[in-house]
């Protein structure tokens, strides 16, 4: 230490690399982890939406199958037919509730069964041909399919 003078004043700057290194470590860790969380979150979100979509498709096809069975039974019978199906579909799809609605399609004897989940917002349409008119809507879960001569086959909550 033979040279005091100006170098002495820079003593305040010494030993900062530890602190800087620490802050850098924290920052990079935070950025990496948030990146991981965001990517993971959106991946899970995508998967969930895909799961809901495929579940709604499967349930839609079951609904269409049941409507087809009902249509077949009604067509093979006279107008004085009474027919009631009580069906249990899953109440929720990947944790989200959903609604089943039947809409008139443009084609003759063609109807759309629209299943829509609320969160995530997914809706799936399955078309069905039926000589018996179809109508009605119901929440997922217990559903009743009923025939009456005036309205045809109507679906409703059980």
């Amino acid at each position: 230490m033979s040279e005091p003078g100006p170098r002495r004043s820079r003593l305040d700057d010494r030993a900062v690399s530890t602190a800087v290194g620490y802050v850098l470590t924290l920052t990079i860790t935070t950025v990496l982890i948030s990146g991981l969380l965001i990517a993971g979150g959106s991946y899970v979100g995508d998967e969930r939406e895909r799961a809901v979509r495929s579940e709604l498709t499967v349930i839609g096809q079951q609904v269409v199958g049941d409507l087809g069975t009902a249509d077949g039974l009604v067509r093979a019978s006279s107008a004085s037919t009474a027919l009631t199906f009580d069906r249990r579909y899953p109440e929720r799809v990947a944790g989200s509730s959903y609604r089943i609605e039947i809409e008139d399609s443009s084609g003759a004897d063609t109807y759309s069964v629209v299943l829509s989940a609320t969160a995530p917002d997914v809706s799936v349409t399955v078309t069905v041909r039926s000589e018996t008119p179809l109508s009605g809507s119901a929440d997922g879960g217990a559903v009743r399919i009923r025939f009456d001569a005036e309205n045809g086959l109507v679906i409703s909550d059980d």
């Binding site: 530890t18 620490y22 924290l26 860790t29 935070t30 982890i33 991981l36 969380l37 993971g40 979150g41 991946y43 899970v44 998967e47 969930r48 895909r50 799961a51 495929s54 579940e55 499967v58 096809q61 079951q62 199958g65 049941d66 069975t69 009902a70 077949g72 039974l73 093979a76 019978s77 006279s78 107008a79 004085s80 037919t81 009474a82 027919l83 009631t84 199906f85 009580d86 069906r87 249990r88 899953p90 799809v93 990947a94 944790g95």
Partner: protein, 330 residues
């Protein structure tokens, strides 16, 4: 490093992040699970009893009542005895099916529709049981109406090939079926033809649209089952013309049946037998003069209207339908 001296406080950021990621993965596992569950329910057959139950039951009743009708027609010539036999047969069937279905927790019933035995539809079997020309039984007219405004079942014509006219003859024997609601007319002509030295019977059907289709049979006698759509037991698409029409009472539509050119130039154009069951009674003797030896018109049961009920925990099905064995399958 004084402010970092407490080692227990270190790594909190990593810890929190690890917990968050763990929750994320649990969520992912739940979602994937529900996908697997979905694929499972998508691929397994439905356990829903409505899928097969009511239609199977209906089919069983249909087939069994066919047998009941055939039995009653074969056993009794007397109208009321026949009807009683049908009623007893249906009651027995109800009992048997009720026991069978009760074992799987389903309650069923089948009965004749209508008050009492009102579900029995009386009919007439018109039959030429021995080989003869297809002329009007009494007057011998070559063009005549066999039955008018009727539903028919089990309509079959059996002809001797050698008695038929050659293909190309202007006046071959023709069976004409007319649908009453649309006035559509199908003409079934029977001719013979020699193909490479082998004699064949041609069954040619001209449809209202003008198209013609031909089915060929090789036997020396040909059995043309018109309502069943078969020639010598083999399916014949040309005969598959009965349409799904609805008559005024909700049953199938009605038809007229005529024979034309049963004779031509003074000689028969076909020799053979025919049989059909129509859903009309009485009037035949007066209208068409069936009191001849060759052609008989006897009262039979044409069909039956039955009421069925099928009650499972998740299905309720009640309906009335008609059973008429051998009616065109449309």
């Amino acid at each position: 490093m004084a402010y970092l001296s407490d080692g227990d406080d270190r790594g909190q950021l990593i810890l929190v992040a690890a917990i968050a990621l763990a929750v994320l993965f649990v969520g992912l596992a739940v979602v994937l699970n529900s996908v697997i569950y979905t694929e499972n329910i998508a691929s397994r057959s439905s356990t829903f009893s409505g899928d097969a139950g009511p239609s199977t039951y209906r089919g069983e009743v249909d087939r069994a009542v066919d047998g009941v009708i055939a039995d009653a027609n074969a056993a009794d010539a007397n109208d009321s005895a026949r009807t009683a036999r049908v009623a007893a047969g249906v009651a027995q069937l109800d009992d048997a099916l009720r026991r069978y279905y009760a074992a799987s927790g389903v309650s069923t019933n089948v009965s004749l529709a209508g008050p009492g035995t009102g579900g029995v539809i009386d009919g007439t079997a018109i039959e030429q049981g021995a080989d003869a020309a297809f002329t009007e039984p009494e007057s011998g007219a070559p063009d005549w109406t066999v039955a008018r405004d009727v539903r028919m079942r089990a309509f079959a014509v059996t002809v001797d090939r050698d008695s038929l006219r050659d293909a190309g003859d202007p006046n071959p024997f023709t069976v004409v079926v007319v649908a009453n609601d649309s006035a559509a007319e199908w003409r079934i002509t029977l001719t013979r033809e020699s193909v490479e030295g082998a004699a064949m019977t041609n069954v040619t059907v001209s449809s209202p649209g003008g198209e013609t289709e031909t089915c060929v049979a090789s036997g020396s006698r040909s059995d043309v089952a018109v309502t069943a759509g078969r020639v010598d037991g083999a399916p014949c698409d040309a005969l598959d013309f009965f349409e799904r029409t609805v008559g005024p009472d909700g049953g199938p539509g009605t038809y007229d049946v005529r024979f034309e050119n049963a004779t031509s130039n003074g000689s028969p154009t076909a020799d053979g037998q025919y049989r059909l069951v129509v859903d009309a009674t009485g009037g035949f003797d007066a209208n068409y003069g069936y009191e001849s030896d060759a052609v008989s018109a006897s009262n039979v049961v044409y069909g039956v209207r039955v009421r069925i009920g099928y009650y499972a925990p998740d299905v309720r099905y009640e309906t009335v339908f008609r059973v008429a064995p051998g009616e065109p399958d449309v």
